[in-house]
């Protein structure tokens, strides 16, 4: 049966990733604690966020051990979101600009 060879890995790897996620979460909390601002803050937030997300998907969700077919099905479509983010940030900037232009006291 197809289930017989499900994902099997030593327990230790989950404990290690778990601890790593704890440490990374602590780091992102410390970003706020020490009140980093501006570019440094955003960079640190994004680095810790992508590291955490990567470890969850790769190890906890076992994507590292899946076949390339599944990896592409899951990782390529979300790239379209980047287009939406770009468009919406241009639009948001523009809305902000016109609001200042027309509604400022």
């Amino acid at each position: 049966m197809s289930e017989a060879a499900g994902q099997q890995h030593p327990i230790g790897i989950y404990l290690k990733i778990w601890i790593l996620l704890f440490v990374l979460s602590t780091f992102s909390y410390l970003v706020d604690w020490y009140q980093f601002q501006g570019f440094v803050r955003w960079t640190l937030i994004l680095i810790f966020m992508f590291l955490k997300a990567g470890f969850i998907v790769a190890i906890f969700m076992h994507l590292t051990w899946e076949r390339l077919s599944l990896k592409y099905v899951l990782l390529l479509p979300p790239l379209a979101i980047l287009v939406l983010i770009a468009l919406m940030s241009i639009e948001g900037d523009y809305t902000n600009f016109t609001r200042h232009l027309f509604f400022d006291r």
Binding site: Q8, S69, R99
Partner: protein, 227 residues
């Protein structure tokens, strides 16, 4: 499962060549039970839902002309006389990560055939998830009752803060609640031995959903609470 695939000969070739043969041969394209593939496809669609929510949040935050309320202060708590910024959110994050860890171990024990440990670990995961929802209910109550935050406005600044906050965390909380119920049902069935014949892929499938809920929280934590 009804599709007969000879795994030893069909899913062995690695890399791009393997992917091409997976797709071009006259056989099942993905090397997994159909339920697991369906869960992955569902999670992909859910990724888009949360991405669109967060992008919408980015858009209204960029276009707001009023000052955006400082989340560090809005979500601060005073514990034992000490003023701690974002402390409840940090605790919720640790609880959710811990529940992801216990879930990953439950999947592991399920494939080893250890029913008792699997059921206990899944139950623990559901309990941690329930405590997450409880803390979220506490947070919402505090925000609504004490700080006067509403979806249409708040005393601290930009009105869009409330609408995006309640929509995004509410939708995520709904996912966690659904996950707790899902896990509790599967844990009970595992404990009873309902899957002895079918196999334990169901635990991995439930696990995928649960890790996804944790994954979404990573993004909400970064973009809504820390940004």
């Amino acid at each position: 499962m009804s599709v007969d695939t000879d795994k030893t000969t069909t899913f062995t070739e690695p890399g791009v060549a393997g992917m091409v043969s997976d797709w071009s041969s006259d056989k099942q394209a993905f090397d997994m039970p159909w339920g697991k593939l369906m869960m992955w496809i569902f999670l992909l669609s859910d990724t888009f839902i949360f991405s669109i929510f967060l992008t919408g949040y980015m858009n209204v935050r960029m276009s707001a002309t009023d000052q955006w309320p400082n989340p560090s202060e809005v979500f601060a708590l005073t514990l034992f006389g000490v003023h701690l910024p974002l402390i409840l959110i940090a605790i919720m994050t640790f609880v959710l990560i811990t529940s992801s860890g216990t879930m990953a171990m439950a999947v592991n024990y399920a494939y080893r055939g250890d029913r008792r440990k699997t059921a206990i670990l899944m139950g623990l995961t559901a309990l941690l998830g329930a405590s997450f929802v409880g803390m979220q209910a506490f947070e919402w109550t505090k925000l609504i009752v004490e700080e006067g935050i509403r979806p249409w406005g708040n005393p601290m600044g930009a009105a869009q803060f409330g609408s995006t906050f309640f929509m995004i965390t509410g939708f995520h909380g709904l996912h966690v609640t659904g996950g707790v119920i899902y896990l509790a049902i599967v844990a009970r069935k595992v404990g009873r031995g309902d899957y002895e014949k079918k196999g334990y892929a169901i635990v991995e499938i439930a696990g995928l959903y649960w890790h996804f809920v944790d994954l979404v929280w990573v993004f909400i934590f970064a973009f809504f609470y820390l940004w």
